[in-house]
């Protein structure tokens, strides 16, 4: 709460300078409507009301939405950050506050900071995000948020965060980092992901197969052929089959023929479709 209070105070001068006290209700959106939505506890209603207030600037709105940037629910933090992203002057006020949490904040503060900086696409914060992923004292929530932040920014300046996260001790962090890799704008190669095809966690292997397939990473072919017929997890086998179809290499035919008789309905049809894509 202290953190929020500081943030509100930080924007307070601006609020007082530019927002009239009476300017609290807008056509189609209002602070009262946002507040009512917050009271309802409905994530859906909160999102709807904040979207409706996309052009509304009022002291109460700012206070309420600032508070929501530290809501326990990611969806709420996300829409709150979006609201600020459409108000760059206010966003910039909070950016410095949140960025200051990255080096020393606890897991929750770093989580909230990363989500805010990511969702507002504050690209200038990439150096701090890169440094923060190397902190050894952060919980899973914060590490996931750091990955989420660079994933949303989709800027290759965040690759270091993802590569570091791919070696994380927690499988959910590794899986999230792998999944984000493919959608970085201008990402040239899936090479860093290939090793994750051998990860000890099935969800990571499944994501890795999707990425190397989606990016046409030919160096992953042998590993994928091994997965499609040998992995214990049907989702991994399915994703490997799809990926081999994307690679389209005729050398994968034998593995895919075998996979087309897989016991799982997830795999059989996908393997048959992949066979049709081989050159």
């Amino acid at each position: 709460m202290k953190n929020i209070a500081i943030k509100i105070a930080a924007v307070g001068w601006l609020v007082l300078a530019l927002v009239p006290n009476a300017a609290r209700a807008g056509k189609g959106g209002s602070a009262a409507a946002i507040e009512s939505a917050v009271r309802s506890t409905s994530t859906d209603a909160i999102i709807a009301e904040i979207e409706r207030a996309e052009s509304l600037m009022c002291e109460d709105c700012i206070q309420i939405v600032t508070g929501l940037t530290e809501d326990p629910r990611f969806e709420v933090r996300e829409v709150a950050a979006w609201w600020f992203a459409r108000r760059p002057a206010l966003r910039d006020m909070l950016v410095s506050q949140f960025a200051a949490d990255l080096p020393h904040g606890d897991t929750v503060k770093v989580r909230n900071a990363a989500d805010f900086l990511g969702r507002t696409r504050t690209l200038t914060a990439l150096p701090q995000l890169r440094a923060t992923i190397h902190r050894g004292d952060l919980g899973v929530e914060a590490r996931l948020a750091l990955v989420r932040a660079v994933g949303f920014m989709a800027h290759t300046g965040g690759n270091e965060v993802l590569i570091t996260a791919m070696a994380d001790a927690d499988a959910s962090v590794r899986a999230a980092a792998v999944a984000a890799w493919r959608d970085m704008l201008g990402q040239a190669s899936a090479q860093p992901v290939v090793a994750l095809l051998g990860d000890r966690d099935a969800s990571v292997r499944a994501q890795a197969a999707g990425v190397v397939g989606g990016m046409g990473e030919q160096s992953a072919r042998a590993a994928l052929e091994g997965l499609v017929i040998g992995d214990a997890d049907p989702v991994v086998r399915r994703n490997a089959a799809w990926a081999l179809g994307q690679l389209g290499n005729a050398a994968s035919r034998a593995a895919l023929v075998q996979a087309s008789g897989d016991k799982s309905g997830l795999v059989r049809g996908v393997a048959k479709a992949a066979l049709a894509q081989l050159h």
Partner: protein, 737 residues
């Protein structure tokens, strides 16, 4: 819960008995009327665990494990409920959620969109009703594929957030928040997956019509336009056409989940975009001239948006997002059992305040159950209501006639290009052009923030735009151009100065190899376009390639050498240097040396927020005025030219006193003060000294060097492309951090 279902069973039984006892018009010949479900052997129903996170009509990722497809046989409340899927499909399906489904034409299989766990995406699955086996249809495992429908020829159409353009991110919606979904299709065996051309916002809820076309909901957003309409495409995702909701024909902000009643006639949900759990009122849409043959009502001829009418089937149900009343509720979907003037419908309905906030406040979720709805008497008869589940998308388990395969002519010679054009651009139902005034048609590509931009391109609510070029109009009024396939574009007719004469208010796109030729410039849809005998001039004239062979990353120009080389208008890079060199010093500086009258912005209590005069410097806007600029921090020159964000002014109850002048009007260079003041020179077909207006050019009057054609056109494009601050040429996402 058991008691609740029992009471429904009694009610339904009474309804059935009552129908038999009272007779009615349907049976004839003394035979008992057993109601509109008399010929239905069983129903298929989707049961999803109740939720309260799907208020937005374009929400497609909601996940709660425990969904199932069931059969109710006979289709009465005391019928037997049998699980069809996915209890026999294997343990990997134990936590599945199913968002929608479609029944095959032979009623032997079901295609559905399912999500196996929270960390996976929605994929497509094929269920064989004979044995309950399920196979997955091959799709990208990192993208969502939802809303599948069967097409003839063993194909499935769907919506997806996968992107047709390799390496390009998917567009974000009109709020620059949600990742949009677009149309695609795939063979049932998972081969030959094709992704359709993209809209700049969402597309959802496709449904097959008996004429073979697919009707779906498209969100249209271009400047002030902001609503969900029904559109048609052919099965190959070509020949996009308006269906219902534009041109003032709509009943509500959003029309969705259209389902055919009879040719040219659809039942759909009319509602608001959000907080309504995808539910609303039911409307009966007639797209053409209404015909009644033996009680079967259809509207197959003269189908057009202008001819469309609708009838409200549920008068008390709100069509906005206000909470619905007790016993009124909202409808989630509807399926017509007949085509009477007032048809009988299978519906999903929930009682009470079906609105996200109210439900959450009460700790509730909407409880959709299946009902038979008699629209003539506005009576609902309960069929199935599992109090723990949403019972939705009830359909008779019956065969249906597959429509013909409807495709479009593809020209392989176009490669990855789309050919667009008009037979006679002067033929328009939206605007009257003076003979000879149109020089050409400008094509502009649209994009949203997904390319790395901030959430706002400026204060005018327009999406990012890139000028692909101008195709000249020929002597017969025709024009043609090749453009990149699959991208959203919009068109403007322009004069010889390059200024927009009329802006078509929608985005459209075409597939690779598709030729999209219109009669005119939004011509009357039911009118025949008369073309002189022979080949139209546009096809004889030179090949107009409007960046059609350039990839997305190359559709920009950081150093245009001539006017027609300008692609995007990056405010700080293209316009600010011009202002700095020609306008600022001694005139339109921060001190208002020119003495131009300004204005003051006050709050509702009369307190002054700030005053502003024409300031063309690149300085940031003072913080005190940021509220009037939508909270943004653009430059003083931008704020001077674009003016205050009028939506922000209105929403914040601000008032403006003094002399407010907006110098640049979005999509209206011709009427923009700065353009009229500077009086541009002719640009097309070749630059000349001819002026657009009779007034003395501002710089000439001051004895200064006039602007170049490139500079004039940069200002014109800035206006006509929405008065944005950002373009690809100043995309912050392209910098190194």
């Amino acid at each position: 819960m058991k008691q609740h279902i029992q009471s429904i069973a009694i009610g339904a039984a009474l309804f059935t008995l009552g129908s038999i006892g009272c007779g009615g018009g349907g049976g004839g010949g003394g035979e008992p009327d057993v109601g509109p479900l008399s010929s239905v052997d069983a129903l298929v129903i989707l049961q999803r665990p109740m939720r309260n996170d799907q208020g937005d009509i374009f929400q497609y990722t909601s996940y709660k494990p425990g969904a199932r497809l069931v059969q109710l046989k006979p289709p009465t409340a005391d019928g037997t409920l049998t699980t069809l899927c996915c209890d026999k499909a294997g343990t990997e399906f134990k936590d599945i959620d199913i968002s929608s489904y479609d029944l095959s034409f032979d009623a032997k299989s079901i295609v559905f969109s399912g999500k196996l766990s929270a960390n996976q995406t929605y994929g497509l699955f094929l269920l064989q009703l004979a044995n309950g086996s399920v196979t997955q249809i091959a799709t990208d495992p990192q993208r969502d594929f939802v809303s599948p429908i069967f097409l003839p020829d063993n194909r499935v159409m769907f919506t997806t957030n996968a992107v047709v353009e390799a390496g390009a991110p998917q567009h974000r919606d009109e709020y620059e928040r949600g990742t949009t979904i677009q149309l695609g299709r795939v063979n049932l065996d998972g081969t030959h997956l094709e992704l359709g051309p993209r809209n700049l916002s969402h597309r959802t809820a496709p449904s097959l019509a008996s004429d073979g076309r697919v009707i779906f909901t498209q969100w249209d957003h271009l400047g002030p336009e902001n609503s969900g309409h029904l559109m048609f495409v052919n099965q190959d995702m070509e020949e996009l056409r308006e269906g219902f909701g534009k041109e003032g024909t709509g009943a509500s902000n959003s029309t969705l989940k259209a389902s055919e009643i009879s040719p040219g006639r659809f039942v759909a949900i009319a509602t608001s975009r959000n907080r309504t759990i995808n539910a609303g009122a039911l409307i009966d849409i007639r797209l053409g001239t209404v015909e009644n043959h033996g009680g079967v009502v259809s509207a197959p001829t003269n189908q057009s948006e202008a001819n469309a009418t609708y009838r409200l089937l549920t008068p008390d149900v709100p069509m906005d997002n206000s909470p619905s009343a007790e016993t009124v509720g909202r409808y989630y979907d509807a399926f017509a059992l007949n085509a009477k003037d007032k048809p009988d419908l299978l519906v999903s309905w929930a009682n009470g305040p079906v609105e996200s906030g109210v439900l959450a406040s009460a700790g509730l979720a909407a409880n959709f159950g299946v009902y038979l709805y008699d629209t003539e008497h506005q009576q609902r008869r309960p069929i199935l209501d599992d109090a723990a589940m949403w019972d939705v998308f009830a359909r008779p388990l019956a065969t249906r006639t597959a429509p013909n395969v409807v495709g479009s002519a593809l020209d392989a010679r176009l490669g990855n290009q789309t050919l667009i054009g008009s037979l006679n651009v002067y033929d328009s139902s939206l605007h009257t052009f003076l003979p000879g005034e149109i020089y050409g048609v400008r094509v502009m590509e649209g994009f949203s923030s997904e390319e790395g931009f901030p959430e706002m391109f400026g204060t005018t609510m327009f999406e990012g735009q890139a000028n692909l070029g101008v195709a000249p109009v020929q002597a017969d009024g025709s024009w043609a151009a090749k453009i990149p396939a699959n991208i959203p574009v919009h068109l403007q007719t322009v004069d010889v100065f390059g200024m927009s004469l009329f802006s078509e208010p929608v985005w459209f796109s075409g597939r690779a190899g598709e030729a999209r030729f219109c009669g005119g410039c939004h011509e009357r849809r039911t009118q025949t376009t008369n073309v002189k005998p022979g080949v139209i001039d546009a096809l004889v004239a030179a090949d107009n390639k409007l960046m059609s062979d350039k990839p997305r990353s190359a559709r920009l120009n950081n150093a245009p050498m001539s006017a027609t080389q300008i692609v995007g208008v990056a405010w700080n890079k293209l316009l600010q240097p011009m202002f700095d060199a020609n306008c600022v010093t001694g005139c339109h500086d921060a001190n208002n040396s020119a003495g131009v009258a300004g204005y003051t912005i006050k709050d509702a209590m009369g307190a002054t927020l700030g005053s502003w005069t024409l300031n063309l410097t690149g300085d940031p806007i003072p913080a005190a005025l940021a509220v009037a600029a939508g909270g943004a921090s653009y430059s003083a020159s931008y704020f001077s030219m674009a003016g205050p964000d009028m939506e922000a002014i209105e929403k914040n109850h601000l008032t403006i006193t003094g002399t407010l002048k907006v110098y640049m009007n979005p999509q209206d260079a011709h009427g923009s003060l700065v353009i009229r003041k500077l009086n541009p020179t002719r640009l097309f077909p070749n630059p000349s000294t001819q002026r657009a207006f009779t007034t003395t050019p501002h710089l000439t009057a001051l004895g200064k060097t006039d602007l170049s054609p490139l500079q004039f056109y940069a200002l014109i494009l800035a206006c006509d492309m929405g008065v944005n601050y950002y373009a690809r040429e100043n995309n912050p996402g392209l910098n190194i951090y």
